[in-house]
């Protein structure tokens, strides 16, 4: 394939994904318990009054922003980590970040800190939990001198196990309603009421994308394996360290704000790779867009499918994503 043809194909992929994202946003804005016609949307937004406006401005729009930021980040992070570790099973949560964040939130819930000090302490303690995990994994696996990616992976998995056992310990000594809070927090939700938190998430995810994109060439080289990349003159250690820190912080932020939304970081990069190819220059933006679209649609399903009840988004991403993945794998095998 000539260079020009490849770039044209990339451009088409990105345009199609952006169009799909736009369509998902409109769909997500209009569907809900209070149906809002697309044709009325402009006048409602213009009037700035009424229940419809409140619903759009306070419920649906913040959820869309959060879906774009969280879905994009998780999916892009998955794509990068799968490349660095050359392991298709790695996802943002594999390195123990979600476990650390969940442990932080559980401690907060059990100690009732958020009741005494305000709801913002929940995401804050989640983020502190994630930060501690990141430090531990970093220093245990790449503190001094050489490090191996396999060691890092194992460290992450072990930290996850330790964190989840500690969480089970906390749950076994706490009240039924606290256990309930912890479980629902773990299942994930995009229903966040703190606007500054949503903005923080959105800007960080964009910044994270830009930083990661600067490493697209290095990532392409790393895909050959860390050893080979080093022989090709790449300071692979530095690249991996920087990406690990940036992406871990982002993942920690995602988990603190939206809970643990599984499968996105695992499935979407794989699907996108089938469509867009595995060159990181196209894989990164399309994974980001793909993750945003996927989460947004899943969230729309979660809040409407058994309305007036609402489902945790993790339920939908797991079921839809899992089936989608199996189907794609099956088709790929037979063709």
């Amino acid at each position: 394939m000539s260079m020009k043809k490849k770039h044209l194909q990339w451009l088409i992929t990105i345009i199609v994904l952006i169009l799909l994202l736009g369509a998902s946003i409109l769909l997500s804005l209009s569907i809900g318990e209070i149906p809002i016609k697309l044709t009325d949307m402009l006048s409602i937004l213009h009037s700035k009054t009424g229940m419809e406006y409140s619903v759009l401005a306070n419920i649906r729009f913040p959820r869309i922003l959060l879906a774009i930021a969280v879905g994009g980040t998780l999916s892009m992070t998955g794509a990068v980590l799968q490349g660095i570790y050359r392991n298709p099973l790695v996802e943002p949560y594999t390195l123990g970040i979600s476990g650390g964040a969940a442990l932080g939130v559980s401690i907060c819930i059990v100690m009732q800190l958020h009741v005494l000090g305000g709801a913002y302490l929940l995401p804050l303690s989640g983020f502190i939990g994630a930060l501690i995990t990141i430090f531990v994994v970093y220093f245990l696996s790449m503190g001094k001198g050489t490090f191996s990616v396999n060691k890092m992976l194992l460290m992450g998995v072990m930290i996850s196990f330790i964190a989840s056992s500690a969480m089970m310990f906390l749950m076994s000594i706490s009240k039924a309603e606290e256990v309930h809070s912890i479980i629902f927090w773990i299942m994930g939700s995009l229903d966040e009421s703190n606007n500054s938190l949503i903005n923080l998430m959105l800007y960080s995810s964009i910044a994270g994308f830009v930083i990661t994109y600067l490493f697209a060439h290095q990532l392409n080289t790393l895909r050959l394996g860390e050893q080979k990349a080093r022989h090709l003159g790449l300071n692979s250690g530095l690249t991996i360290r920087i990406l690990f820190i940036v992406l871990s912080l982002l993942t920690g932020l995602c988990v603190s704000v939206a809970g643990i939304i599984g499968f996105v970081g695992l499935i979407i990069p794989h699907l996108i790779k089938q469509i867009a190819g595995s060159d990181y220059r196209i894989l990164l933006p399309s994974s980001f867009l793909g993750g945003s679209i996927f989460i947004m649609l899943c969230d729309t399903v979660a809040r409407t499918v058994i309305s007036p009840n609402e489902l945790p988004i993790g339920v939908i991403t797991g079921i839809i994503g899992g089936f989608m993945f199996i189907v794609v794998l099956k088709i790929k095998k037979t063709s």
């Binding site: 809900g32 318990e33 209070i34 009054t49 009424g50 229940m51 409140s54 619903v55 306070n58 419920i59 819930i109 009732q112 958020h114 009741v115 305000g118 709801a119 076994s172 000594i173 009240k175 039924a176 309603e177 606290e178 256990v179 309930h180 809070s181 629902f184 927090w185 939700s189 229903d191 009421s193 809040r303 309305s307 007036p308 009840n309 609402e310 489902l311 945790p312």
Partner: protein, 259 residues
């Protein structure tokens, strides 16, 4: 009801739930309680032996206390209760009461088991009289739509076949979730039903933060009427006749301050 219990009431009780411990206290029988859970606040000053929690029961500890009666709720695993029965201890299970009458009949049942039937009847009669007083106030008064929220993220609503639904009915209200069968409810669904009053039960949630979220919706009837209230879960969620009346009176006062 086994007859022998009336002839010979139980004298060494272990309670596996805070609400049951409270009922034992309200029946003037705290001296009969030999063990309770670590969450039984009412028993804290008396330094009763702790046997774990409703979900994590220390069976050996219970046996060492030599109880003749164990009172439990459905939260405790049936395997645990079976084991206790096999050890020859009488186990009474109290399911979650479906309404105020259910609370009363369970209270009476406990009273009969521990030889305090008369006391139980007296407490129930007084509680019913207080409840009737409040019910009578709302004859012919326009009904308010009420959202009774337990927890946030996700929002949970009080459902119609629970004793907490009676708080709404007895105050002349309509539960906005009366037709629902499972408690999670989307914020949009609440807005669509446009409740006139919202009660937030502080069950492990920051009540003030939840209140602030609802106040953002200026069109919501509850916001317009300034009827968004925070309620203490220790009283509201505990099925005892006394805490039921206490919570009901508080809710009634919040909804109708003039009466």
């Amino acid at each position: 009801m086994p007859l022998f219990t009336m002839a010979q009431p139980f004298n060494r009780i272990v309670s596996l739930a805070p609400s049951l411990t409270m009922n034992v206290y309200y029946l003037d029988s705290k001296q009969k309680l030999v063990g309770c859970t670590s969450f039984c606040e009412i028993a804290k000053p008396d330094k009763k032996e702790i046997i774990g929690s409703a979900t994590m029961v220390n069976i050996e500890k219970i046996v060492s206390l030599k109880p003749d009666l164990i009172v439990a709720t459905l939260i405790t695993k049936p395997e645990v209760l079976d084991k206790l029965r096999k050890l020859g201890i009488h186990v009474e299970v109290f399911s979650s009461p479906k309404d105020f009458n259910g609370i009363c009949s369970q209270f009476l049942r406990l009273g009969m088991l521990i030889g305090k039937a008369e006391k139980a009847k007296a407490v129930i009669a007084e509680s019913k009289a207080n409840v009737d007083k409040i019910k009578a106030q709302h004859k012919g008064v326009a009904k308010q739509k009420i959202f009774f929220q337990i927890g946030s993220n996700p929002l949970f609503s009080v459902l119609s076949n629970t004793f907490m639904n009676d708080f709404i009915l007895f105050c002349g209200g309509i539960n906005i979730a009366s037709e629902m069968h499972s408690g999670t409810i989307g914020r949009e669904s609440v807005l669509k039903r446009n409740p006139d009053a919202i009660f937030i039960v502080t069950m492990g949630v920051a009540g003030d933060d939840e209140k602030a979220i609802w106040q953002r919706y200026g069109e919501l009837s509850a916001t317009k009427r300034k009827q968004i209230f925070i309620i203490d879960s220790n009283q509201a969620c505990t099925p005892t006749p006394l805490s039921f009346v206490y919570t009901l009176e508080m809710i009634n006062k919040l909804l109708y301050p003039k009466k």
